[in-house]
Amino acid sequence: MIPLSWYLILAAALFCIGLFGVLGRRNAIAILMGIELMLNAVNINLVAFWRYRAAEGIAGQAFAIIVFAVAAAEVAVGLALIISIYRRRNSVVADDINLMKG
């Protein structure tokens, strides 16, 4: 059976890729995709820990499903925001969106 650490390494790698996407990309949609990757990395961790450490319960799966639901909602809202911003400013570059500059 594949040891737990493999899953954790995979999840960490996925998280790092997502993090890079969030911090490194300029495109807002790409940033959103990076966030999705990070969320899914967390899901892998949740499911992996559940399977190896607490298979008798369902908490791990339940958490993972909640994260899916949250991610779906977040994407829906995030994409709507991005479309709205695009309509107003004709751009989806994150650096251009600086209305909150102090």
Binding site: V22, L23, I31, A94, D95, N98, M100, G102
Partner: protein, 727 residues
Amino acid sequence: MTIDTLIWLIPLPPLLAFFVIVLFTNRHRALSHSIAIGAALLSWLGSMVVFFRALQVEHFGEHPFGSQINWLQTGDTWFKIGVLIDPLSAAVIFFVAWTVLMIFVYSVGYHNYGQPKGDHDRKGLPPHGANVVDAHLHKHQVPSIEPMYSRFFAFIGLFAFGMYTLVISDNLLTLFAGWEVMGLCSYLLIGFWYGKESARAAAIKAFITTRIGDVFMLLGIAYLYSATGTLTFREIFAEETLAHLASTPAVGGFLGLSAAGMIGILLFIGTIGKSAQWPLHVWLPDAMEGPTPVLAMIHAATMVSAGVYMVIRMFPLLSAGAEHGALTSPMLVMSFIGAFTALFAATIAVAQNDIKRVLAFSTISQLGYMIAALGIGAYVAAAFHLITHAFFKALLFLGSGSVIHGMEHGVLHTGDHSVDPQDMFNMGGLRKKMPITFWTFLIGGFALSGFPLITAGFWSKDEILADAFGHGHWAVFLTLALAALLTAFYTMRQITLAFLGQPRTEAAKHAHETPWTMTLPLVVLAVFAIGYGWVGIPEHFPVIGGLLPNWFHEFVGGTLAHHPEAVAFSRWPLLTSLVVALGGLGLGWLTYRHYKAGAQDPLQKLLGPLHKVLQSKYYFDELYDKVFVKPVYWIADTFTNQWMDRGVIDGFLHAVSRLMLGIGPILRNYFDKPVVNGIGDFFGEGSKKLGRSMRVLQPGKVQSYMLAAMVLAFGTLFYYIYRLLRP
């Protein structure tokens, strides 16, 4: 209702009428005068009831009506006020009630009730007349209604309240209150036409002149109260109180007077002011500035009588300590001032041309008569003359008002406004135009002159002369006899100039008899001007003496503790009064019967430069102006205004303000700016600076926030791992 309660109620209706008119009915003329006359009628009714009840009481002097209430607590006793109707006040309230009622009725006609409004009439000025067009399309100028009609009735209502209060008072304090209410009213009424400069000046003059007397009177009242502890007449007039006052020397031994003498003189100075005796007589002639006859009549027949009434009332005090036949100091002062004033004012009256000014001086002169009579101890005669004079002088003033009113009608009719409707030399022949006024004026004039036997004035004047003669006061007797001669002369001069002969101006030709509201009071008063004398015919008078009982002497004499003896009859004073009355009247008629319009006054030819002096009233106004008025103005301007006000007070204020101006910048520069502003600025500017330096933390880029969040998250994570791994 008991008679005592009724006495309390007598003064109230006119007071209520005053308030009702002032507060509610000011705009409704008919309602206002109805209320005022109704109130006067109620008071009149009450007075008559009281008077006739008083007649039914035997020895009324010892058992007068009256009641008292506790009014003010003074230490452990009460200051009491109350009402008192004794024979004297019963006799006085009788004439007050009649004359007041007559004035009220007369005022309706005098202020042109029922006439149209004038085109140019303004409040504060006499009505100028109105233009009307009659059925034949003729234009007429007719008298117009007084613009402040209701106000007049309110004022005379208050006036009547003052007079009634004064008469029914049983103590000097409420008497003084009534006295001052009348002082106020006379000010208000003299200045009634306040749009005229002269009326304003006359109002102030009357107020200030009488105030001089009032101050002394108040001093006298205060002295009396401190000496006896009471102001109630019946307590003051108790034998032992009077004896005590007469034997105590005055404060500081002033001029060797007794306390009674001092108080008497102080009170008498009040009368000098109120009754316009020399040297405070100057206000009364000027008081004619008010709504002429009505006001003049109030001043002549009502208010000035109050001064005489007060001294008659205080006679037991004034005469306290008199030995047989000798006069006390107040009585000496009174007989001198009274006799002097009687002659002095009569000489002035001779040279006046204004019909009501003659009467004003005649009033001063007649009041002097009463004062002189009281001064020589002729108590009953003074009271008798007070009452008969009130009736016939009221009649004369109302008559003169009627004449002026008729003349004004003529002036308006002819449109010649240069004719003075009050100047007797512009009249003449009014006998045919105004018959009722003529006959009543004639009766009043003859009463004033003392026309023998039929008029009231004869009996009262004769009694005074008889008293002066009988007690051997020769100087007073001769002065008064001379004054009586002049009185008869100027009265006849007045009647001849105004009523007899032919009209001397167009206005006099078109003069018109006045409405019934004015003539009715004249007729009523004329009845009294004749009839009232018959109640006081001396018993020993030849032929008719004793036909009628000498009721007045018995009744009023009963007021005093010692019933005064009627003076023995002597033919000399009787002959004197016959000669002066008839002689004066005859001389007046002879001098003026052929007077032609525009000619010189015959008297002017006779007297030469003296006439001018008399006409100018011995220059008393000018003298007072120089001696009192001008210096007061000078002090007011130079001392009070320039030195005191501008120099001292303003100087002090300016110094303070300069000091403040100096302190201000110091505080500003060394406290306000550095400390107060500094603290404020520190917080304001500090927050701004802090904000500016924190600005860089808010780049507005979402990724840099995330980066920061990540760094913080990792930092926290590593910190906890480090804490966990540390041994």
